[in-house]
Amino acid sequence: MRTTGRGANTRMLATGNANSFHTCRRLYLGVALPLGTVLVLSGCAATQVKRAEQVGEVGKTYANALTLAGDEAMASSITFSLAEIRKERTGGAFRTPEDRSKAIKNQIETLEQRQQLVETSNHLLALLAEYFASLEQFAKLDISTSFEAATGGLVDSINKVGKAVENNPKANAKISNAERTALAKLSGLVARQVHGQAVAKVLERDAPMIGTQLRLMTKLLETYSKWINDRSGMELEEFYRDHVVKPFVATEELPGSWDQDVRRYLQGTSLSEQITKAQDAGERMERFWAGYLAGEISITYLVADLKDLEKLIQAVSDFRKAHADASAGKPQ
């Protein structure tokens, strides 16, 4: 871009510096104008990226919480079945050694089948968690800096070629430093915008798959909650009848452990109620997804919800272990 007109030269000289005038005008027309547009658009891109990051995080946390729930539900099944078959054996359910052999064989087979199913389900969940982790990583991919650097390098190379063609090492660069910086920044913003669109496209494309998987995860969570709750409910009921009511109703002195038993019962009841509530986490996830597709983006409460679920599973696990130890007469 060269100015050859005499008037123009005079005007430029009158203002002080011809080069800076050129640079400013070119910068405004060539870079600043699109820069403004891109800046406006980059707001939308940032939202899309944020949304994808959130979906990735929530999905990953949910899949991990479900895996934990599956493991706990399995452990709870084993503890319950073993305690029950022990009682059945003592009660005389299996008369002959053959009966006992058959009973334990069947019990192990049932538990093995369940174990395999939980493992398969966890394996499939891991693949889903992998997808959500990749989605989060893809959204977090900060390509703007890389594109800024690459464009800067490209501009330098163009300048080098220009100088080489002119065969003059002292020749002025075709693209000034200010233009180089502005161009690099512009390319970074454009890259961010394009990335935001790519992320939005991924979310739109995978929305049916995510929706279906969330529905399946809700069912899994319901199943695991039922496994845990049904067992703990029955155990608690029996515990209440035998260790809380019976000793109290009887005329004999209350045993020393009675207070502790009542406390244990109350703790168990509270956990049971929490598990029942935790079942709703799946439905809340589905509601979140529906709201998310409708444009809502706040998920902070949901992540906290899932973290609470993980804590609850841990509490249930601790309670189950303590109860099993107490039943077996082990010191706590």
């Binding site: 099944s77 079945s81 029950e84 078959i85 009682k87 059945e88 009660g91 005389g92 359910a93 299996f94 008369r95 009973a103 069947n106 019990q107 049932t110 089948q113 369940r114 199913l117 398969t120 389900s121 499939l124 693949l127 997808y131 990749s134 989605l135 990583q137 893809f138 991919l141 390509i143 890389s146 594109f147 690459a150 464009t151 390098g153 490209l154 190379s157 163009i158 080098k160 070629v161 100088k163 080489a164 063609v165 065969n167 990335h195 790519a198 991924v202 494309r205 995978d206 049916p208 798959m209 279906t212 998987q213 399946l216 899994l220 199943t223 496994w227 049904d230 029955m234 009921e237 029996e238």
Partner: protein, 165 residues
């Protein structure tokens, strides 16, 4: 001419009869759009969904087995004779086994559904990896062009020294 007309009439009647027969064999509700399915279309159709009611049936089975087991657990057994007690524990064992198997069956159905949906997850995973690769490729191309231009500049400079323009 008359004979030809008769023949055409007969053929038409035959065709109509055959059509009627076909309709009678496969009744179609009024207003239903009939689409003939070709082999290709059938191949493109997604896997048959679980027969309606299967999931519900399994859940009902689980519920009823659980209720039976719970009622046995709650039974008052203090007044039972030794024989009755043994009978009680046998029944309780059978009820628990039935409940656990019903739970397994319902869960197996759910895991089967998860497996059926696995290709969708795998495809999404693959597409996402492709997208990430495309971004990396775009960046690599930029760097490559930049490096190539740098080399070109060096070559031109070198040539300028060897062959004065």
């Amino acid at each position: 001419m008359k004979a030809k007309a008769m023949k055409t009439k007969m053929t038409k009647t035959k065709v109509m009869k055959t059509k009627r027969k076909k309709r009678a064999a496969k009744p179609v509700e009024p207003g239903t759009k009939v689409v003939k399915t070709t082999g290709k279309m059938r191949a493109a159709m997604p896997a048959m969904p679980v027969a309606p009611g299967t999931e519900v049936d399994l859940e009902k089975l689980r519920e009823s087995a659980l209720k039976t087991y719970e009622s046995l657990r709650n039974a008052e057994k203090d007044d039972f004779t030794q024989e009755q007690k043994e009978e009680y524990w046998r029944n309780r064992h059978l009820a628990r086994t039935a409940w656990e198997l019903a739970e397994n069956a319902a869960f197996a159905n759910l895991v089967e559904e998860q497996k059926r949906r696995l290709p969708e997850v795998a495809a999404s995973n693959a597409r996402l990896a492709k997208d990430a690769q495309a971004t990396a490729d775009a960046l690599a191309v930029m760097n490559l062009v930049s490096a190539s231009l740098g080399v070109l500049a060096e070559v031109i400079t070198l040539l300028g020294r060897v062959v004065p323009i």
